[in-house]
Symmetry: C2
Subunit: 199 residues, 2 copies
């Protein structure tokens, strides 16, 4: 083989970081915590990453690019805005279902941390808002949604609702066990879309 299995120590570190960040929060995790969790020497973290920040950035970028792709795809698919927004919300909720720790980290440490990491990734984050706004705008153009609401405004409200629900699950404000994510998705999409229907 060209390269012996690079042991994927890099991946090992990233995965460990997710767990530690989710447990303690980015700011109160020491680099040594990540190394310990990964079962790896302190210095190795700096072999694969230039800084503690870069670890988080990498985690965010990996996941967020998937979200952007999902929004694009939902937009390209057939169906009205209701179906498209359902796909977007579904993707986000599924992401949480699939890897709660990762979503917790991304939301808490980046998306909602507008003063620190959110600042750095503002452009990427905004791209998601704009993708959703595009879906709304098309819905308005086709007459499926009323036209007197600014699409970006609607997008922010929609995304804000999604993220707040997620936060509620993450921090136990809302019981997650009994909640069926798919049901929540449908309810949310229905409510918002009904509110955006032509009067």
């Amino acid at each position: 083989m060209a390269q012996a299995p690079p042991a994927d120590k890099r991946r090992l570190i990233l995965d460990a970081a997710v767990r530690v960040f989710a447990r303690q929060g980015f700011h109160s995790t020491r680099v040594s915590d990540i190394a310990d969790e990964a079962g790896v020497a302190y210095g190795l973290v700096y072999h694969y990453f230039n800084s503690k920040d870069e670890v988080l950035n990498e985690l965010f970028t990996e996941r967020w690019s998937l979200l952007l792709a999902a929004i694009e795809e939902a937009d390209r698919a057939d169906g009205g805005p209701r179906e498209k927004l359902g796909k977007v919300a579904g993707f986000i909720f599924d992401s949480y279902r699939h890897d709660p720790d990762l979503m917790k980290v991304i939301i808490v440490e980046v998306t909602r941390a507008a003063n620190s990491f959110g600042q750095i990734h503002l452009e990427q984050i905004r791209r998601a808002y704009e993708g959703i706004a595009r879906i709304v705008a098309e819905g308005q153009a086709s007459g499926a949604l009323r036209g007197d609401v600014d699409p970006m405004f609607a997008s922010m409200a929609f995304y804000g609702a999604v993220e707040q629900l997620l936060s509620g699950w993450i921090f136990g404000t809302i019981p997650a066990s009994e909640t069926d994510f798919d049901e929540a998705r449908d309810l949310l999409v229905t409510t918002i879309c009904d509110g955006l229907e032509p009067r």
Copy 2:
């Protein structure tokens, strides 16, 4: 006079802290920054507060209790859920209009910082969600809103939308200059309430 004007150095420090927190974020402001901004000696901050954290806690508590009172009052007032929710959103948007720095600090450093200060104040924050949920529940009971949506669910979606809009203004994702806050309030309430109307 019993007490000479205690010079209100405490207030001076709190107000200075708002400005500095808003400008630099809680984590990257040193206690010396607060003291400098207030034109006061470093040590005096510790005369009035036990820690840097306590300064932020005080700011949050002061403001949040007003919000809780406003929610209570909106609920007690006459009118349907539409009017009541309009009052709640109006209070929050007005708070931002009146003191953007303070709202920025509260939202960024507490409300959306669920890993650090949000944790400590989770109970207070939840109380706001519950107040809003109560308004929704009453609306359902009176038949003004459809009954198949969990009130807490609707509350989280509503509050999430409000906060996301605020965040958009705070961080320039959405242009604030041209936006009339009252218009935004009406639009938001209309959309959500239309979505929650009986089908």
